[in-house]
Every structure is written in C-alpha cells, then in structure tokens.
Amino acid sequence: MLSGYVVTVLITIGIYVILALSLNIITGYAGQISLGHAAFMGIGAYTSALLYTKAGWGFWPAFLAAGAMAALVGAILAIPCLRVREDFLAITTMGINFVVEAVFLYIPFFGAGMGIGGINAPTLFGRELEKTGFLTLVVLVILATIAADRWLMRSWTGLAWSAIREDEHAAGAMGIDVVRFKVLAFMLGSAGAGFAGSLYAHFLTFIMPVNFNFGQSMVILSMVVFGGIGTLRGPIIGAIVLGALPEISRPAMEYRTFLYGILLLLLMRFQPDGILGERSLVVRGWRALRPNRVVGIR
C-alpha cells in the first residue's frame, strides 16, 4: 500500500489537477486571462466549510453547494469582467482575488484571520473516508472533470470558445453570443474551482484566507501555462510536475522558490507554449517521429 505521506502528496496534486483543468476552461479555451482563480476555490472552500460546521450539512450536499456557489459568484463577477478586455481583465480578476481574500480576512462571519476549523473528512455510508478513500474521490472528480471537458470541447460551446479566443469581434460578427459564452466559461471554470475548494477544505480540515490568496492563483495559472495552455494534457501534466516539485526539491529547501521563479522564467523564454503545448519541443519531436499520422486537434 502507499504510505500516508505519498497519499497526502497525491491528494494535493489531484486537487491542483482539478484547479488547473477548470482554469484552463476560462483562460485556455475561452481565452479570458484570469489571475484570480484561487478566489473561487476559496468561495467553494468557505461555502462547504460553513455549511458543514455551522449549518450542520453533510459533506455531499455541502460539496455540491460549494460548486454551485462558486459558479453563481463566477457568473456574477463575470459581468464586470465583460466590460474590460485583455490586460484590464487580467488586473480586474487579480483585484477580485485581493477583495475576496480581504472579505474572508476581515469579516468575522468567515472566521476572519482565524479561519475555520473542525471540518471533518467526508463520510460514506456512515463511515469516515480513509486517506486512500479520499484519494479515490479526488480521482473520480478529476475523471468527471476530464469527461465534462471533452464533452464541452466536442460541442458547439467548445467551438464558440475557440472563436472568441481567436477573435472576439469576428466571433460576434458570425452571430456567436459572446457575452453568453464568456459568462458560461467563467461559470463552469469557477464551479470546478469550487468543487476543488470543497475537497481542499475537507482534506485539510482547517482553512485560512491565506490559502486562497493571489499567490495561490499564480501557482494554478503557472501549472496551466507550464504544461501547455488550451490543451487537455497540459494542465494535468503541469499540475503533476509543479505540484510534485516542492516534494522532490526538498533537499534544496532554501533555494526552491528561487528555482521555481527561474524555471517559470526560462520556460516562458524558451518554451512559451509550455512543455506539452502545440509548438513545444516535445510535441514537435513526437510528430517528427511519426510523420504519417494525422494528429487530432488536441
């Protein structure tokens, strides 16, 4: 069996995979830069934690409510985001992250600086889930996210998002309801973050505003970009590699954040498409080895 330590690391990485996949919907597929994804993770985590500890809900309804609440807030906050483009959008989403964190930090209802404790692990048929059980749950949520991702990208929604990402005005001129699809992207991406946040809260059993700050958003975004934005494999691999990095680089404790910064910098400079993006060395090399195969879109 896997040791407790390994399972803990795997669960953390798994939660990051969900977060990266959900951010990829907003930023990768629909092309809307979001620098505030951790805010929606936080909204999910706090919804779940408050319903569980204060309202006495069970894990499962609280988990669903976390996704729904994050989706709702995501849709509402998408409205100010629709007014602004590109760099203004990036800074607006960043601002949303700072404001949401400030709300958690300063309003006593949300536990303020003390956070919320006493959140237990989920139960199934009256028994509390063990670590490995929790890992299975995380993997199931990842599989569901991947299935939803594939289904959406094969539908008109995926095509509409691609069109908006490439040229918003042209997409609008072709009769695509740009507002509707942008709000949909923010809603679905935020829902994913909300589910991940709920899992995170019940896994850590204790949450604080700092878990959902702008730095966390940057961690999630760098996973998406590291692997290859706008692909399915990219965010998954990015979350696994960058999620495992703190554990692997434990011997270089003193320098690991420094190395992380340098890694991001060098990757953007020399492999701006991420390690598994369409124009990355790995993917081009792979294609060169198999010249006669027609490779799918993603």
């Binding site: 100010p80 007014r83 483009r85 949303i96 300063y106 760098s222 910064g261 910098l265 400079r269």
Partner: protein, 285 residues
C-alpha cells in the same frame, strides 16, 4: 490630526507616482504588464542602502540606485520581453512573474530574510504650508518626486526625444516609418522607468527606515491597480491615480477608520472605476 494624515497621504501618493510611472511607460510602449518592476524597486532600495553604508551619503545612494536599476531594467527588456512580444500577452506576464519571484528570493538569499535599518541622515528641513506640516523624510520624498516628475514632463513635452517617445507609445509601427528608432525609444523608456522605480525604493526605504526582500510584494500588484485606474499607459492618469489612492488609503483608514485592509482598497477603487470607465480615469477607448 487630519492635516497630519493628509501629509502622510501626499507622501504615500508621491511614492506611488514614482513607482507607477515606470510601469505605465513600459506598458505604453510594449503593452506588457511588467510585474518585475517591483523587483527593480526593491533592488533600488538595497543598492541605495548598501551604497549609503559604504559612502555615508544618502544622495550618492539614491544616484547609485537609479543607475543600477536603469541597467537592470534594460537587461530585462533585452533578454526577457523583446523576444516574447509577438506571443500572447500571458507569456511575458508569466515570465515577468517568474522573474519577480526569483528576484525576491535572490534578495533574501543575498541579504537575509530580515528587515535592514535604513537610517540615512537626510539634511533637509521640515516644510510647513499653513496647517500642513511635512516631516523631513516626507519633504524629501515630495521634493525628489516633484523634481523627477518635472524633469520627465520637460523631457516628454518639450524635447524631440519626448515627441518620439509619445509617438511610439501611440503607434510604434507608424513612428518607425518616420525614421525614428523605436528600439532606442523602448530602451529609453526602460531606463527612465527603472531609474524612477529605484528612486522610489530608496525613498520608501528611508521613509519607513527599513528595507527587506519582500518589500515589493504589495507594490507589485497595487501599482498595477493604480496604473489601470489611471488608464493603462496614460502618464498623467497614473500620477493622478497615485495621489488619489495614496490620499484615499490614508484618509479612509486613518480618519474614517473603515474596517477594511488598506491594500485591498486600491483594487476596490479600481473595479468600481472600471465599471463606469472601462479604460480608466484618463484612458481613451
């Protein structure tokens, strides 16, 4: 008490103005969100402090900080941003964030994690304008800022170089057809912007009497909010927004005592303004 807070607000606004000017100038010519600008600001504070310790002169420290920061700014432009300009905006943004993380950690590794005292003696009098009293450090901040802003204004509005800079910010392609080296203009923007950031690092270091590796973390993002508030790339707009935010923060927290974190206020103001003016206070669509 109220006048004291106003004096604090003006000093804070002046430092914001110096820091955000560089950001807005870089954005004006490159359309890059230069997060690592705050790393340059921290670098300036450290260079200023170490030069001050070696020479005993605040002014030599200030000058050294501006020179070193200008050089580092140009290097960042050459080796990081220039090759990435044709790629999606998110690529230079993430690269810049990576560089900022590495710079902060680099300062920590070199100078240690603790705050270092910056007790430079600044021979400068207090300033009293009616009921408004500025302490010696506040006076230095205000005087240095106004002098630098004045020089920048002269350069931009009264010289041929300034004309080339404004033209490049407006439309780089057309400008280059007039025989103007837009490369040189971009470099000049980085020199000026980074030197100003270095100066503001030194000033804030002296004002707070401390310099520490992560002193740029909050300015890194707050200054982006201020720049957006003023209208990205708009120089008078970002100066106006700096003073508005500096005063609003100090007065709302210090006088009205609203229970809200000081550093989130700039973002609330920014989001509210963007609702009604999606291109910022003085931005044009």
């Amino acid at each position: 008490m109220l006048w004291q807070q106003i004096a604090n607000g003006i000093a804070t606004g002046a430092v914001y103005a110096l820091t955000t000017l560089g950001l807005t100038m870089v954005y004006g010519v490159l359309r890059v969100l230069h997060v690592a600008h705050a790393g340059i600001y921290t670098l300036g504070a450290f260079v200023g402090l170490f030069t001050y310790r070696a020479t005993g002169s605040f002014w030599i420290g200030l000058l050294a900080a501006m020179v070193v920061c200008a050089i580092v700014g140009v290097l960042i432009e050459r080796f990081l941003y220039a090759p990435l300009l044709h790629l999606p905006r998110i690529v230079p943004l993430i690269g810049s964030i990576g560089l900022f993380i590495a710079m902060e950690e680099g300062f920590r590794i070199v100078a240690g994690p603790y705050a270092l005292a910056y007790d430079a003696e600044v021979q400068f009098g207090n300033l009293a304008l009616g009921p408004l009293r500025l302490s010696a450090p506040q006076t230095v901040i205000l005087v240095v800022t106004l002098v630098l802003l004045g020089l920048l204004w002269l350069l931009l509005s009264r010289s041929r170089i300034g004309l080339a800079m404004r033209a490049t910010a407006m439309d780089a392609e057309t400008t280059s057809t007039f025989g103007i080296s837009t490369r040189a203009v971009v470099t000049l923007n980085f020199i000026i912007g980074s030197a100003l950031a270095g100066a503001s690092g030194v000033l804030i270091g002296v004002y707070d009497n401390q310099v520490w590796p992560t002193m740029g973390s909050i300015p890194a993002y707050k200054c982006l909010a201020i720049v957006v508030l003023g209208g990205l790339g708009n120089i008078p707009g970002s100066v106006l927004a700096s003073f508005v935010i500096g005063l609003a923060e100090t007065l709302l927290i210090g006088v009205v005592a609203i229970p809200f974190p000081r550093d989130a206020l700039a973002f609330v103001a920014m989001i509210l303004v963007l609702m009604f003016r999606p291109h910022g206070l003085l931005g044009r669509g």
